[in-house]
Subunit: 228 residues, 2 copies
């Protein structure tokens, strides 16, 4: 029998390609965390569609209390989502304080309770967001904390298979693995059609462009032009 693993699945491009990798290696439980992000309803819809696609076991965790921590454009509607600035240096306003530690703590607790041997998270360091909690060294340090802070004799690994990939490589890998990219959602702002303007949309579009593949989801505007 396959080992079991927990996959953190937001419903975005990176986590879906990560799920496609994990599902080949382990019996997976997909975990979605609502942390009060403004596009949560749309993300959850994507999550459910991907769960159906893979016929996986799913847990949806409502951790919307995280919203009260504030300080991020993703959880505080008073802070504007930045547009069109993927070459900016430093940490963008969409950074949610220590979010990945929070996600991992939930996923590790699920793994420990179920005896799973790994937690997959689709974090990307190289061509990514500039978030400090997306760096490989953070995940290594967290994995050590997991080893010391859980009771399992079977150690729980933190796996970040996309950490050094860029968006183009992620799109290509997703297509090769048959990941349902048409079901994913990446936009930070809109909920019906992707805005095509926020950092997340721009990075995604750059990835599809580099891979010379048309992004299968719908956009309001692409590269400054309004969709007809």
């Amino acid at each position: 029998m396959k080992n079991s693993a927990i996959v953190l699945l937001s419903g975005g491009l990176d986590s879906t390609v990560t799920a496609a990798i994990a599902i080949k290696a382990a019996r997976c439980v997909f975990v979605h965390v609502n942390y009060g992000q403004r596009t949560e309803a749309r993300e959850l819809k994507a999550f459910k569609a991907i769960v159906r696609h893979y016929k996986a076991e799913a847990i949806s965790i409502n951790a919307a209390h995280y919203k009260i921590i504030g300080q991020s454009a993703l959880t505080d509607k008073r802070i504007k989502i930045p547009k069109g600035d993927v070459n900016r240096r430093g940490i963008p306003s969409t950074y949610v304080p220590f979010r990945n530690a929070h996600m991992l703590s939930i996923a590790v607790a699920v793994a420990e309770a179920r005896g799973a041997g790994a937690v997959y998270i689709g974090a990307v360091e190289e061509d990514g967001s500039g978030y400090p909690d997306c760096r490989e060294e953070f995940f290594k340090a967290f994995e050590k904390a997991v080893r010391l802070g859980t009771k399992t004799s079977k150690k729980i690994r933190i796996l970040t298979p996309l950490i050094h990939k860029n968006k183009e490589e992620i799109v290509k890998l997703g297509i090769r693995l048959g990941a349902p990219l048409r079901l994913t959602w990446s936009c930070y702002g809109a909920e019906q059609e992707a805005c095509g303007k926020c950092d997340s949309c721009l990075l995604r579009l750059k990835g599809f462009e580099g891979a010379r593949v048309k992004d299968p989801i719908r956009y309001k505007t692409i590269f400054g032009k309004s969709k007809k």
Copy 2:
């Protein structure tokens, strides 16, 4: 101006003595986390009373989704609270999977959002619970993950001032610092009067006995005898 710090305060003996230490060193925000534990209502009452005592800023976080992870006698009423067995070896059924990582992730996010320089947690390794996430080496590893996974230039320290103290020393320290021990709540099971029988009550009573001080809270039974 004093530095600011976040104190994880359940309302129990250890976290209250930790708060008494922290309040002398920093401007504190007391953070309480409801993780679906069966005595949450009573704990929250203790938390609020201690907040009033110290006139501190308070945040109460409802993370009751943690309950669905299960596997602990503290969050799953189908698992009995073990009685009178503080010399047992191994990890007791009251262990909640990776709970302290979850608590710390919340507290660190609050610290990061507010620019606080420390998170205090009243964990005890020596005379403690046998929980893996109460070991000093876990907190050291977690602190490293915090250093690598947050954006603050001002580093956030994880402080565990009680980690190597036994319950007797904690009671004595609490009294010396004027901590409001009468307002604390430790019992795992009961909500009106403490049961006097669960591990948490027994450890607490042993501490007061060692310190030759009467525990100011009310018990149903003490050392096998019913209270009149």
